[in-house]
């Protein structure tokens, strides 16, 4: 498996790096297909609740399988693979340990497979959003994180550049912080009853905001300058966004439990810092968009750039929406409705997943020397964009109606009936998204083990690096 692809001229360490990146991307793609197929089945069940009955295919077991496989199978594996590549290239060095990278990949996969099986058999740690896997499985995931942290840190430590490029701040930070998140979540002896609610609020948002966000931003900071052949608009702004993100984000978790019996001050603090999050979000987004200034016309020629552009817009819109949702007045209507589901897809899909795709299309062909076809890129891009647009818009409208039904004091079942058309639109959007993933898988195959569209000469190490 390790001897992928690259043409004969490349050095062994380049080949090894290409092999690692390919394996991570292929593995992540398999999880994406699995997780989103489950997602489509779940969407279908909203219209046909008697479809696929029985314990192993019941909604309540498939739902956490979908979210966990997306988070810890697909997104985590893809982001770590890209983080390795970015670290090596931006530090003009070699990967500290290829073996550790492979070990990490195995551990991630073992955890995701074991977690999926456990949930399907009914071994859930509790219906605690994103930490449903039984604790031994989460220990395996923690081990994968620690291996990754070790490998990334030592790769950066052996850099041949003076500075540490900004991308690595985000990726190293993300991996290290997430080790802490995982430990806080696993330790059982201090979380009971309401105390566990507090930890759930903390965990739910930190697992997203201190893991997926920084790693996806790390991709933006590397791939965007690379694709445009110009430096990031403001390095200082990137550093500022890094520290503000670090300080504000961990505090906002309790906004998932507004109006709950959690202490009112904890909820209010979370709301205040949800507003403060606008600082790193607007700062970061502005930095990316200003880096692209005057070059938006190139979106038509470069799908990798287009993917990243959508990812930046998803980051800006999704995060700003998150701030707005945190206000008590709006939360009173939107909380517990499908609006939340729309929001989580806007961020995890519109932002993180598009960032991953942009990163994969920008970097993988350079590593392996193989290009995906233009038609494949176009099909993937447009189906994913249109599908997710339908998905998010339909659930946002439907969720608002659902919330207003409750406010108006209608019989509860009315909110179920009123959601029906929106569930159907969500299904249509979801199917388009899933189809786009099939095309993505085909593209990945062509960029890795299959036959590329047009062989590029693989870029030798250290060539034309942008590192500031």
């Amino acid at each position: 498996m390790q001897q992928i692809a690259t043409a004969g001229a490349a050095k062994p360490e380049d080949r090894a790096l290409a092999g690692v990146l390919s394996a991570y991307v292929v593995s992540a793609t398999a999880w994406l297909l699995f997780a989103t197929f489950i997602g489509v089945v779940l969407a279908y069940k909203f219209g046909a609740p008697d479809f696929a009955p029985g314990p192993y295919l019941t909604f309540g077991r498939l739902r956490p399988i979908h979210t966990n496989a997306t988070f810890y199978g697909f997104a985590s594996i893809a982001l770590v693979g890209l983080a390795y590549y970015v670290a090596v290239r931006s530090c003009r060095t070699a990967l500290y340990s290829v073996r550790l990278a492979w070990t990490g990949l195995w551990l991630f996969n073992i955890a995701a497979v074991a977690g999926t099986v456990a949930l399907d058999l009914g071994f859930s740690a509790g219906d605690l959003e994103y930490r449903e896997w039984p604790w031994p499985v989460r220990l395996v995931f923690l081990a994968a994180l620690m291996v990754t942290a070790w490998n990334l840190l030592f790769t950066v430590a052996r850099r041949n550049t003076h500075d540490i490029y900004l991308s690595n701040w985000y990726t190293m930070g993300g991996v290290l912080w997430t080790c802490i998140i995982a430990i806080v979540a696993i330790l059982p002896w201090y979380q009971y009853g309401l105390g566990q609610v507090a930890v759930s609020g903390y965990y739910m948002h930190n697992a997203v905001g201190m893991w997926f966000t920084p790693l996806a931003l790390g991709i933006f900071y590397y791939a965007l300058p690379k694709l445009l052949s110009r430096p990031i608009y403001s390095y200082a702004l990137g550093v500022f966004a890094f520290w503000t993100n670090l300080v504000f984000y961990p505090i906002i978790g309790a906004h998932h439990f507004l109006f709950s019996p959690l202490p009112w001050w904890l909820q209010t603090t979370a709301i205040v810092f949800s507003v403060a999050m606008l600082v790193p979000v607007l700062g970061g987004s502005a930095n990316f968009l200003l880096t692209m200034r005057g070059r938006f016309g190139e979106l038509h020629h470069s799908y990798p750039l287009f993917f990243i552009f959508i990812g930046v817009v998803g980051y800006l819109v999704g995060s700003t929406q998150g701030t707005v949702e945190a206000f008590r007045s709006l939360q009173a209507v939107w909380h517990l409705t499908n609006f939340t589901v729309g929001h989580s897809h806007l961020t995890m899909y519109g932002f993180v997943t598009f960032a991953i795709w942009g990163g994969v299309y920008a970097l993988l062909p350079v590593a392996t020397g193989k290009q995906p076809g233009q038609l494949g890129l176009a099909l993937h891009f447009w189906m994913a964009v249109v599908g997710s647009f339908i998905y998010v818009i339909s659930l946002s409208i439907g969720g608002t109606i659902q919330g207003l039904d409750w406010v108006r004091g209608l019989p509860f079942i009315q909110s179920v009936v009123d959601m029906q058309p929106f569930y159907i639109w969500r299904g249509i959007g979801g199917v388009l998204m899933f189809l786009s993933h099939l095309v993505f898988a085909w593209n990945v195959w062509r960029m890795t083990y299959g036959r590329g569209a047009a062989a590029l000469p693989p870029v030798p190490a250290f060539a034309d690096e942008e590192a500031a």
Partner: protein, 322 residues
């Protein structure tokens, strides 16, 4: 090396501090919240049922948190910190695709209804999109001694044999029945002071004392009564009595009708049919005016011709007590 230490080490240190402050410390402190008055640990059977609830992900669609908001009033009083003392793992939930279950043991105490609903939700609520949990039931030729078969309506019942709950269903039912809020002095004031009530429309429902509003009556009936008596007023044969043509509903003296809605009934015989299931009382959850609206709706629908009642009549029966 220094740079790496500053960025990776420094940020991790900052993060560890924040994680401690926002995750671990609140976790430790709030874990010591004492149980509220009357809040008891679960029995072994109830705990088993809770594990089944968790394993099948019920809380992805059903919350267990009543917010101090007007629209949540139908689910019970606002949840208090002491309610969660024995709730680990916590099941507050993040979505309400189905109704909140905080107080379901009080809101729907009928075991018969719960069993039919678990077996196939659409048998009692046609619009429901909840999955069927029929695997927690067995189909047998004849119910064993001492077990009453679940009276599943014909359209949803197996062609042959009768449906009986397995141990899993019994445990789950025991857990659902344990979900009862304990009375909390001052709960109403809490909801009023917490924030301005955003829903004048819903709040106003309780105040109108004069005149019968058919639309309001129908909505209240749908929300509170239809899951058993059905929108058609015909009930479910053998499980829930019909209101259509029901003697108490058409009787000029409405006392029995009002009494049933206020205080519930259990084990009644109607037209020679014995009904096992328990009807919940609505005295604590609905106002006199709301109950009068429901009763008038029942007395004027499906061909019924009962004499209408007013909130005053309800108040009179309420004053007499059980």
């Amino acid at each position: 090396m220094k740079k790496l230490l500053l960025i990776a080490g420094g940020s991790t240190l900052v993060y560890a501090g924040l994680a401690l402050l926002m995750g671990v410390l609140p976790g430790i402190m709030l874990s010591q919240t004492p149980p509220g008055p009357g809040v008891k640990p679960l029995t072994p059977l109830e705990a088993e049922g809770r594990a089944i609830y968790v394993a099948n992900g019920c809380s992805y669609c059903h919350t267990q948190q009543v917010r101090p908001l007007a629209q949540d009033k139908v689910f019970g009083r606002p949840s208090a910190p002491g309610d969660f003392a024995y709730q680990t793992p916590e099941l507050l939930g993040s979505e309400r695709t189905g109704p909140d279950l905080t107080n379901i043991g009080a809101r729907q105490p009928s075991a018969v209804w719960q069993y039919i609903h678990l077996y196939n939700p659409r048998a009692v609520v046609p619009e429901s999109i909840m999955p069927s949990f029929s695997w927690m039931f067995a189909v047998v030729a004849k119910a064993p001694e001492g077990v009453s078969p679940v009276p599943v309506p014909k359209a949803f019942a197996p062609a042959k044999g009768v449906v009986v709950p397995t141990h899993e269903a019994e445990a789950l039912l025991a857990y659902l029945m344990s979900l009862k809020q304990t009375p909390l002095p001052g709960a109403d004031q809490m909801s009023a002071s917490a924030l301005p009530q955003p829903a004048p429309a819903a709040a106003a429902a309780g105040t109108a004392a004069t005149g019968y509003d058919p639309a309001k009556g129908k909505a209240l009936f749908s929300a509170n009564c239809a899951v058993c008596h059905q929108e058609s007023g015909e009930g479910l044969p053998g499980a829930f009595p019909p209101l259509k043509g029901n003697k108490a509903v058409n009787d000029d003296d409405a006392t029995q009708h009002i009494h049933a809605v206020l205080h519930g009934v259990e084990g009644v015989v109607i037209d020679g049919v014995h009904y096992d299931s328990q009807m919940p009382p609505f005295a604590d959850t609905l106002s006199d005016a709301e109950i009068a609206d429901i009763i008038d709706y029942e007395r004027s629908s499906w061909g019924n011709h009962g004499k209408p009642v007013t909130a005053k009549d309800v108040a009179a029966v309420r004053a007499k007590g059980k």
